[in-house]
């Protein structure tokens, strides 16, 4: 079976572009703190979501709704309403991370398909099977800490479908278990759906040296002529002991396109592209390339080579944890 391409859509326009470009599936979120890309000007209101789903279904594509932050104590109703609205909008599945919310969805909307978000960081087969038995989870988005052999081993031990990230931003920490951003800025992926938020970024120009700061902490320093990477906390330049450099991760993004055949052999069902914050033209281009790759693979033809390098916006690319040397 051809591998499923799962594409991001931050706006109705991006959803339509992704569907037209050949996305089998599009994932998106409501315009509030219930999803992990809660950025200004992004995401869908209820009417837009219904229309987007109708458009995708008419073209034979599916829509998944990410409700993958951790509901705030005392305000769970906001997240419960998101799940109910996803069900009534005709979404093909919801992507959830919080056990309490999974429990709510399984009890109140048993017919609504449930995917386990990468934010749940389910990194082994026992955990994945537990989510399947307890909450009826049908698919898991695997954390970006696993190598291809580890993914194959997981698939050998579970009936749950696996979806893996193949392109875009790369978390080096176990997802859903990182408070670096809220330590420095007070805003976190788990609680607010944001990481290293732009509202807390400052650029400071000091005599030809450009400092990029997050929450007052210098994360990068480059010459004025050089490209200044966005100050994502875990990809900053720091010093410890005698070492100075990108101690956690270089400012790289993930590109596992050349590993698609191995991922298929490892039993992976779906390939996920990160980037709900990206433009519709970016999304369309990435989708076309990945769709071409899986179609070529299905037809027994060689993978098209190096197709996406120019989309990385000058950033270096990595295959992340999929190749084990990364560890």
């Amino acid at each position: 079976m051809v591998m499923e391409i799962v594409c991001p859509a931050g706006t109705p326009a991006a959803l339509r572009a992704a569907v037209k470009a050949g996305a089998h599936t599009v994932y998106c979120g409501f315009a509030d703190e219930t999803n992990a890309r809660n950025f200004p000007g992004l995401n869908f209101d209820r009417a837009e979501m219904r229309e987007g789903i109708a458009f995708a279904h008419a073209q034979g594509s599916k829509v998944l709704i990410a409700i993958n932050t951790f509901p705030r104590a005392g305000d769970e109703a906001i997240w419960h309403r998101a799940v109910s609205d996803a069900a009534s909008s005709g979404a093909d599945a919801v992507i959830l991370a919080d056990p309490g919310l999974l429990d709510y969805a399984a009890r109140n909307h048993p017919e609504l398909r449930r995917h386990l978000s990468v934010q749940a960081a389910a990194a082994n087969a026992d955990m994945i099977n537990f989510y399947a038995e307890t909450f009826g989870v049908k698919r898991v988005v695997l954390p970006r800490v696993l190598s291809v052999p580890e993914i194959a081993a997981i698939n050998a031990e579970t009936e749950v479908e696996t979806e893996v990230f193949v392109f875009g931003g790369l978390c080096v920490m176990a997802e859903g278990r990182c408070s670096l951003s809220s330590y420095a800025t007070g805003r976190s992926p788990n609680m607010n759906g944001v990481c290293s938020p732009a509202s807390h970024v400052e650029y400071h120009d000091d005599d030809g040296v450009l400092d990029a700061r997050l929450g007052g902490y210098t994360i990068h320093r480059v010459g004025k002529e050089d490209a200044a990477p966005y100050p994502t906390l875990c990809k900053g330049c720091f010093s410890a002991g005698d070492a100075t450099g990108h101690l956690f991760e270089d400012p790289v993004s993930l590109n596992a396109e050349q590993l698609i055949p191995q991922l298929q052999k490892a039993g992976v069902t779906a390939l996920k592209i990160e980037g709900r914050q990206r433009s519709r033209s970016y999304v369309a281009q990435v989708v076309r390339n990945f769709r071409a790759a899986v179609d070529a693979l299905e037809a027994g033809q060689p993978m098209p080579e190096g197709m996406l390098a120019r989309l990385s916006e000058g950033q270096a690319m990595t295959t992340g944890a999929y190749k084990k040397t990364w560890r």
Partner: protein, 301 residues
């Protein structure tokens, strides 16, 4: 309010590990959670000492729990997690994986690295047998209050991160090994020289984070002395103190003095900072704008 000592997060020699728990037997704390939280490769070095430490602490009248790893991926780690309950000591799960191996309806504790952000998750864990939950350190006081109330209704004791460097992230990659140009599988235990983790500073030499193998912590030591009254009022039943290499028994005594009204919060905060001039404190996750914020008076910076 009770005092719980969380599991040591750092890599200590078996000698240092054993003498730490020997000394802790005489500290004024109610509960001790021990075992390996961060890296499964560390455990074999002191595993044989665990039964003696457990026996000593039980004899001293402490409640004792055994922690799971924070991130379980390898076969060996799954096996370790599955064998946790064999010691006959209550298990504290710090990865939901550990829950999958517990005998049905066995009482257990939930550590701060499991995401318990709301009443729904708390209630689900209670239905599985959770008797005690230490909340994630990033939760603000407002959420703590809601959960403490829900915990009281469910019969789950609610604990809050009270003292020590705050665990901020866990990864599949070892940063100590990476810094030394080694892969995780051939780390040569690069983390063993840093008994409280390795300071990570910004390019402006500002202290920021702490590297501890696959774990990243805050540079600051959380210190909830100024929130004690609010936490008590909210119904929080215990404060968690996280081990550090120096003066830990004294620190336990300070928090006990605070709880008993023997000393004020300001005095305790000053005493902690005077013990070690390099210690910076924070309480921002509970009441500040950012986790790193500190509501009290600073002796350093």
């Amino acid at each position: 309010m009770e005092l719980t000592v969380g599991p040591n997060q750092f890599f200590w020699s078996a000698e240092r590990w054993a003498s730490f728990y020997d000394a802790l037997a005489s500290a004024p704390v109610d509960r001790v959670v021990l075992g390996e939280l961060v890296c499964s490769k560390r455990l074999p070095f002191y595993q044989a000492r665990i039964p003696d430490a457990v026996a000593t602490l039980l004899e001293a009248g402490k409640q004792v729990s055994l922690t799971s790893l924070a991130l379980v991926t390898l076969k060996r780690e799954r096996k370790q997690a599955a064998e946790l309950s064999d010691m006959g000591v209550e298990v504290e799960i710090n990865d939901l994986t550990a829950l999958t191996y517990l005998p049905e309806n066995a009482p257990f504790s939930v550590g701060p690295l499991v995401n318990v952000y709301n009443e729904g998750t708390l209630s689900w864990l209670a239905s599985r047998g959770a008797k005690r939950v230490c909340l994630p350190p990033e939760l603000p006081l407002g959420s703590v209050s809601v959960l403490a109330k829900a915990g009281a209704d469910l019969g789950v004791a609610i604990e809050v991160w009270g003292h020590g460097r705050v665990p901020l992230a866990i990864s599949g990659r070892c940063y100590h090994a990476r810094m030394h140009g080694r892969a995780k599988d051939n780390c040569q235990f690069a983390c063993e020289d840093d008994a409280d983790g390795l300071d990570v500073r910004t390019l402006e030499d500002q202290p920021f984070l702490t590297m501890n193998g696959v774990q990243t912590l805050s540079d600051t030591y959380a210190c909830a002395v100024h929130q004690i009254d609010s936490l008590k009022e909210a119904g929080v039943t215990a404060l968690r103190l996280s081990p550090q290499s120096n003066g830990f028994v004294e620190i336990c005594q300070m928090y006990r003095d605070l709880l008993e009204g023997e000393k004020t919060a300001d005095v305790i905060a000053r005493d902690i900072q005077e013990m070690d001039e390099n210690i910076r404190l924070s309480d921002g996750f509970l009441t500040g704008d950012r986790g790193v914020d500190w509501s009290g008076h600073s002796l350093v910076r």
